[in-house]
Amino acid sequence: MGDGILNETFPEIREAVRRLCARFPGEYWRKLDRERAYPSEFVAALTEAGFLSVLIPEEYGGSGLGLEAACAVLEEIHRSGSNGGACHAQMYTMGTLLKHGSEEQKRHYLPKIASGELRLQAFGVTEPGAGTDTTRISTFARREGDDYVVNGQKIWISRAEHSDLMVLLCRTTPREECAKPSDGMSVLLVDMREAVGNGLTIRPVRTMLNHATTELFFDDLRVPASALIGEEGKGFRYILSGMNAERILIASECIGDGRFFIDRAAAYAKDRSVFGRAIGENQGVQFPIARAYVQLSAAAEMVTKAARMFDAGETAGTEANMAKMLASEASWAAADMCIQTHGGFGFAEEYDIERKFRETRLYQVAPISTNLILSHVATHVLDLPKSF
């Protein structure tokens, strides 16, 4: 069959996810895309079926599986033509809380996150004045009695309007006063339900795809000191491992997208007849599909390697980065090939290819852009001189 279905990992999980997604066909996603609306029913179905609490340990109400299983879930969502972007962060944002939160915080929040009663799928790091150069963030949390008072601004914060809690990275000591630039930042678990309208303003940012992203304005937002995760000043380190998980999971979404494009292109090339024969009989049509498959298969191996390393307790930072880069480039190449295979029909909304094409383009930019991955590999792996 050539599509890997026979020796796939986690076959039962994948099959269940495929069944679930079959209830949310292209029509459902096209309507949301037109209206830039949030896929509430889809997210509810995934939540109820337990697919968003894969990574939460059983003692806190989740399934206690590893990142590789979570990757299987997201890959199948994307392969089916659906999109996990509306809810994938519910899977991994809790990692910061799980790894660095107090037992009391974990007992309080994790079971409700596992059941979906609480949505923790907003991760506030990026600022207009500080992109990947995270140590230059300026959103500041000033301690006042039992509270922190937060002022500043964040951008590209996805799902903020659809999240009850947010993991927020802010400075608690100015950069100039720290021994190292990465010191002096802290993580607060902000209760969005109390914050909005009381110092937090959310403004949606309309983009070329339906991704529910926003910018946030903090104006004397009071957050109880009990919302601090771990120790004050160590926040930067806490969010790093979460970022590796995020990159691996998003890489698996790219693999799913790539499989979607290859499935669709191969089926169309066999079916579409021009000049009295299937267009797929022409090597000029079939070779690009084969090439996309080869490229995607190699990327998928890297994603699996990164996920397995992460699950084995290794940092996997470099592998996560490399997996994300390869997967996002492979899915983009497959998207381009799929449009070309379909000709004019690739641009028709009802084929879902133009929508997926727009969606998969994001991943060469977010959650980290390709240039920064190359920079990481050049300076951290190959020991080349630092450029910044």
Binding site: M1, L6, E12, I13, E15, A16, A49, G50, S63
Partner: protein, 248 residues
């Protein structure tokens, strides 16, 4: 009440089957296999009856190769309580399946046996009827709705031209049609739990059933490729064409 649900591992309904070059059968090497869709409907209906408080236990049973365990795990993940695999690598014809199921039913004493009306591989549509005859119990085939009430079950059957309602005294045999329900997908916690549910393996010999085939397959072939039609300009041309072909 116990409900016994036989499930068959068949070629996945999405797969386009390919006939072996020698015409001896369908090529199943490297082909995705799944639970027969009508059996999934049967599992779903059994779960709904249990959820309504009218049954205590659902037992899934499959007759087939070791790989049929996967099909049984799917049934367990959907909500069956335990499973029995009657393991054999031979092809088992409907009559032998019915005999094995009868023997399983004698051990388990289910109040209801819920089967798919047919399997999508051989489309025999025989096992449920044969089982009812062998057991001497009432049957409600092609079920569109199933209502268990006390010691009876009322089945609306899909028949030519409409629905026929029959009331059967339990224990009874029901076979499911396509419109009975929409089967659920397994949730992740249930997939995990299914791995720990009991699955017994037995052999046809344990039940004293001879599975030797009574039929010989002489040839399997692809359906003929449909020939392209012909386009005509207008109604007059159509009428002339029909007359020329002598159809009307």
């Amino acid at each position: 009440m116990k409900i016994l649900v036989p499930v068959k591992r068949v070629i996945d309904y999405n797969v386009k089957p390919r006939v072996k070059a020698d015409g001896s059968g369908v090529d199943l090497a490297n082909v995705k296999m799944s639970m027969n869709p009508f059996d999934e409907i049967a599992v779903e209906e059994a779960i709904r009856i249990k959820e309504a408080g009218k049954a205590e236990e659902i037992i899934a049973v499959s007759i087939g190769p070791a790989k049929a365990q996967e099909t049984l795990r799917t049934a367990l993940a959907m909500g069956a309580d335990r499973a029995i695999l009657v393991e054999t690598d031979d092809e088992v014809e409907p009559l032998a399946v019915a005999k094995i199921l009868k023997a399983v039913a004698e051990e388990e004493q289910p109040g209801l046996i819920m089967l798919g009306k047919q399997a999508i591989d051989d489309d025999s549509n025989q096992t449920g009827q044969m089982l009812a005859a062998l057991m001497g119990r009432p049957q409600g085939t092609f079920a569109n709705t199933v209502e268990v009430e006390g010691d009876s079950v009322t089945v609306k059957r899909e028949v030519d031209g409409g629905l026929q309602t029959v009331k059967l005294t339990l224990p009874a045999i029901v076979t499911t049609d396509l419109r009975l329900n929409e089967p659920r997908y397994a949730s992740l916690p249930n997939i995990m739990k299914a791995k720990k549910k009991p699955l017994d393996t037995k052999s046809p010999a344990h039940f004293g059933v001879d599975t030797a085939p009574r039929l010989t397959t002489t040839n399997v072939s692809e359906p003929p490729v449909r020939q392209a039609g012909e386009k005509v300009e207008d109604v007059d041309a159509l009428v002339a064409k029909i007359k020329a072909l002598g159809i009307a």
